[in-house]
């Protein structure tokens, strides 16, 4: 374990970008957990006299059309945005990796069925499929999570299928089988844990994409509804003010979104260096 931390320190100090990404990740998590209690203003409190004020010392990111503080709303929104992405990625990770493992381990019919399901999902432009799913299931935050989870499922299923498949007849698995373990037990205790490191990299890279997708869906008016603070919908609400020059309404939440996605993408690259130094680019 100390070996791992030595390597972790090496990766963090060797590549400053990963260190920055790590720091931003910690900030995002802090904002998600205690954000609502540290923001200077109530994110819902409107005030007609304070509407559409440009950024100043009092309101760092300005105020919106209802006089709400944009900075406070962005910080508070972190929790919702991350919660949507984390739950979506968790669902697709669990279902995708289990389905993929079964397909990779047993082959035959299991493989064919899982392959068909993933191929069918991938036959759609993914964002469009997510729109269709939300339209069918109903316009709610939960369904945004399910839609995002479904469109991410194929990536996990395919990846764990390959990872399980290449380890299926590895020596340590054969040894465990000789010791009398059942197939399912082999898969669960010997093979599956070994596929987790590459899948974790995928999780991190996928998080950014899940955040983008969920924000895109709420930008077009699905899922989250005003006056809830959420980055995608804040950009959508501010979009109308761009042409008249009130840029802070849309640009700041957009930047927050971009930073979050950036963080997870960089973190994914760093994680890959940590777990699999050979695949470094």
């Amino acid at each position: 374990m100390s070996e791992f931390f030595k390597h972790l320190r090496y990766v963090l100090t060797e590549n400053p970008v990963t260190l920055i990404a790590g720091t931003m990740f910690v900030l995002l998590v802090i904002a998600a957990f205690i954000g609502p209690s540290i923001v200077p203003y109530d994110p819902m409190a409107s005030s007609a006299s304070q509407s559409l004020k440009p950024p100043s010392w009092e309101h760092w990111f300005g105020t919106d059309q209802l006089g709400r503080d944009v900075f406070s709303r962005i910080v508070v929104a972190t929790r919702l945005d991350l919660a949507i992405a984390v739950s979506a990625v968790a669902i697709s990770f669990i279902f995708g990796s289990v389905l993929g493992s079964l397909a990779g381990f047993f082959g035959g019919w299991a493989d064919r069925i899982v392959g068909r399901i993933t191929d069918t999902i991938m036959a759609f432009p993914l964002f469009v499929l997510a729109m269709g799913i939300v339209a069918a299931l109903g316009n709610s935050v939960e369904n945004i999570v399910y839609a995002t989870a479904i469109i991410n499922l194929p990536f996990y299923a395919r990846m764990s299928r390959t990872e399980v498949n290449i380890r299926r007849s590895a020596d340590f698995v054969l040894a465990a089988r000789l010791a009398g373990n059942s197939s399912l037990r082999l898969l669960a205790t010997q093979i599956y844990p070994n596929t987790l490191p590459p899948l974790m990299v995928q999780v991190s890279l996928n998080m950014g994409w899940a955040i983008l997708n969920a924000a895109g869906l709420s930008f077009i008016g699905l899922g989250v509804r005003p006056p809830t603070a959420e980055w995608g919908i804040m950009v959508a609400e501010g979009a109308g003010y761009i042409v008249s020059g009130e840029w802070w309404l849309a640009i700041f939440p957009g930047l927050a979104l971009m930073l979050a996605v950036f963080t997870f993408n960089l973190l994914g690259d760093g994680l890959r260096d940590l777990i699999d130094p050979r695949r470094r680019t």
Binding site: A123, F124, V128, G238
Partner: protein
């Protein structure tokens, strides 16, 4: 290798598209039936009477068994019937066909832009690893996938329309002072040129630039990354070393030897790029009030116009399958190696 081999490969590829299309039809069928409550009520729209709901129920076959319902759904799709949009009163098929050229014009220009930037950038980055071009490529690749496409669009509107004043207002395909050109292809730029009306062409083109670049930036990243990766791999192979050692010109080595061999992985990435593009098209159309099928779908979503939304999803999926199919067929026709192995 003879011509028949290629034909056989193309035929095989066409056959492979069939399961995808069947899968798409099954998924859209499930989506139209997964509506919470009674689908007939949803499809008839908010202003429906008891009688019209009953009519919709019969026409969709909702009073019958699942298999029979699927059969009715599939046969009506085969005749191109996607139902009626309750928000506009027209058939969904007509609506989609009327708006498709606007979306395609935007998508094609964006594709030209992103291929035009990504390929040279990727090649330059691969030939000079760790130079400033390589760093620029890395920055573009990372930023491209992290930028929300609607954010890039709004930022460009702010910069080029509000601050610099060089772009037209983000309000659709043509400023209201111009008349739309006589319809031939449905692409305003091409129609205006065919009409010999350069002023309208300029106006239509100016409206197109910002949305096309916005869409292009988003799809640039995977293309540039793939080009760089594929070129790096090819450039380090033995035949390139031999070509260089034989004293061939740098450009010959780079373009006729290396680039042509790197094309396969790049073309395969194009499939994924299309998936991104058709999806983010919806967001870009919303930002620029572009009257394409994406805006149509958003408007339909807001008023719960289910037939329209599902028709849109189906149309986009079919379009996506066809685009991928076209890439594969073009590749088979162009690549002299295809068919040799068999």
């Amino acid at each position: 290798m003879n011509r028949n081999d290629k034909l056989r490969i193309i035929f095989g590829r066409l056959m492979q598209a069939i399961p995808s299309i069947i899968g798409i039809i099954i998924v859209t069928f499930i989506l139209t039936r997964a509506l919470p409550g009674d689908p007939a009520v949803y499809f008839a729209g908010p202003a429906a009477t008891e009688k019209s709901i009953q009519e919709v129920r019969v026409s969709l076959g909702l009073d019958k068994g699942w298999l029979e319902q699927f059969w009715i759904y599939a046969t009506s799709l085969a005749t191109g019937d996607l139902g009626v949009s309750v928000s506009t009163g027209l058939s969904v098929k007509e609506e989609l066909i009327r708006r498709l050229p606007a979306s395609l014009e935007l998508t094609f220009l964006a594709l030209i832009f992103s291929v035009g930037v990504a390929l040279p950038l990727g090649i330059a980055a691969a030939t000079r690893p760790n130079s400033w071009v390589d760093q620029l490529c890395r920055l573009v690749v990372t930023a491209g996938v992290s930028l929300p496409v609607f954010f890039t669009g709004l930022f460009m509107v702010y910069l080029f329309y509000y601050i610099l004043g060089i772009a037209p207002a983000p309000l659709g395909r043509l400023d209201i002072i111009y008349l739309s050109p006589p319809t031939v292809t449905g692409f305003y730029t091409i129609d205006a040129l065919l009409d010999g009306d350069f002023e309208t062409f300029g106006a239509a083109f100016r409206q197109l630039i910002l949305p096309a670049i916005t869409l292009g930036i988003f799809t640039l990243a995977p293309l540039a990354r793939m080009t760089r990766g594929a070129m790096l791999q090819v450039l380090s192979s033995d035949f390139i070393r031999t070509a260089r050692a034989s004293g061939l010109k740098r450009s010959t080595v780079l373009y006729s030897y290396a680039f042509r061999n790197a094309l396969l992985p790049i073309l395969t990435t194009l499939g994924m790029v299309f998936s991104f593009m058709l999806g983010s098209n919806v967001l870009v159309e919303k930002v620029f009030a572009w009257p394409g099928i994406g805006s149509f779908a958003i408007e339909a979503l807001i008023v719960s116009d289910y037939a329209a939304v599902q028709g849109f999803v189906l149309a986009m999926a079919i379009l996506y399958v066809l685009l991928n199919l076209t890439i594969d067929i073009v590749y088979t026709l162009v690549d002299p190696r295809v068919g040799l192995e068999s």
